[in-house]
Subunit: 155 residues, 4 copies
């Protein structure tokens, strides 16, 4: 029945020279009574972008939490600076752009944007930590850190 | 930058002989502390399925609410019967399957499922009404009703 | 600073002869672009009602998942029949009413409603299972089951 | 049936000398598979705090959007700086503390925190704009701006 569906890698977006790009559609769930996208919905959009950027680098939340790389690990957001620059509306086709700004020890810094037809609607600087399931900071396993190298990192 | 991204129709899923199929990924936002997908997240998944089924039939929420077809209209869910049959987890690749069971006057009846690799995780019978923005029932405009004919309706 | 805040039990609603009653406010997060409460938000409202009904019966999710009563346990929704009867709007003061219709083995059946100033907006029949963290059905520990007896159960 | 429920003003929190305080409970909907509160849920918590702070100042979203004060108006978040300082868990009793740092023209600046038993878990600096429903910046009507004066503003 589902043989014709797009192959899954397409849903994880694309790694491009200027960053990872994930298309996202605006549905009812993302809007509020003022007629536009609810402000916290953008945090969900950019988390999908981060997850799929990592996925295309070979880093999977399920593997990390299952302890495939040793101790069970997860990502936790530590800091965000966010600018809401323009509204998005129901049915809009948006793009989440994710660039790795740096990875040091237990922390990743990412620059993320949401765009519609090239227009910038949302911009965020995000710091993410790697933690154990009891909340302690951990280094990203070396094999995974190596996979991030060159994936969207600035020169 | 985004020229390599998949063309948008791919994100709206596919109309297949056995129903509309939309791939959906499980992200952090969809899970809860018990380790699986939060029950109400399935309602979001199947609404994305309904919206994209309608989109591929040429029926757009933005057009309806902008009054492109006359009075400003929207869809409102009236009734659901839901069975939660199995858990989904972070990173899972799911498929939302949507079939139109019937359209009469102001109401659409749909059968919707969520599957993972063919296994049925969630099943719902959904009744949706067309309403004006002050909440009164309205018929789907005839031109749009015609677009639904044959789109996944049973013989 | 917060000495004047209402004592916490107030936030868990009230056990009344006709069921548990939890006041709930409608915020931006609960609405969608059609100007009313998003349909899946009602599932969040009634889960808050179920959680606080159980809390006032002495059954706490944190204790269950921490294994205070033996094996780590959680609740999982198995089935829902839902009628959406009227819209709610931003700032509305709603009440979630929860009544236990029966408890057998691993399952609880509850009748839940959302009302505004007495008017019925939403009604649901909900079946909830007790499960282990690997998803297997479990009986509610006897000491906890005893606490449910008489708590809103019909004669 | 609901006569015994807490009077509604209790659900809107308290204006205290050190800011508005809103108690918030952590439910299933707020958590993710890593076992703690999902990061974007804090944005919902602090929006509830802002809404109830404004409510106790006599400023209501429903009145604004209904045009009670002239043109239909709404609030839109423009900028946030956020620090996630510690995890919260299911059943936790949190407090959202909101202080008005300044109001100028179309913009309000607020300092917001989420605490548990005095411990700081989350801190945000938030800039909110008043806008018309077509997205243009507007001054808060003078009568409403007057109500904000003295309500939690620093000396």
């Amino acid at each position: 029945m589902t043989g014709e569906a797009a192959p899954w890698p397409d849903l994880a977006g694309r790694l491009t020279p200027s960053g990872h790009v994930l298309p996202v559609r605006v549905y009812y769930e993302d809007t509020d009574f003022t007629g536009v996208v609810y402000h916290a919905a953008y945090l969900k959009f950019i988390e999908r972008g981060r997850s799929d950027f990592l996925r295309l680098c070979g880093i999977h939340h399920a593997d990390l939490s299952d302890g495939v790389h040793g101790e069970a690990l997860a990502f936790a957001v530590r800091r965000m600076e966010i600018d809401f620059l323009g509204p998005a509306r129901i049915d809009d086709a948006l793009e989440v752009v994710t660039r790795l700004d740096g990875a040091r020890g237990a922390r990743l810094c990412l620059a993320q944007e949401v765009r519609r037809a090239g227009a910038l609607l949302f911009s965020a600087s995000v710091t993410v930590a790697v933690i154990s399931f009891d909340g302690r900071p951990r280094r990203l396993p070396a094999a995974l850190a190596a996979r991030l190298e060159g994936a969207g990192q600035p020169d």
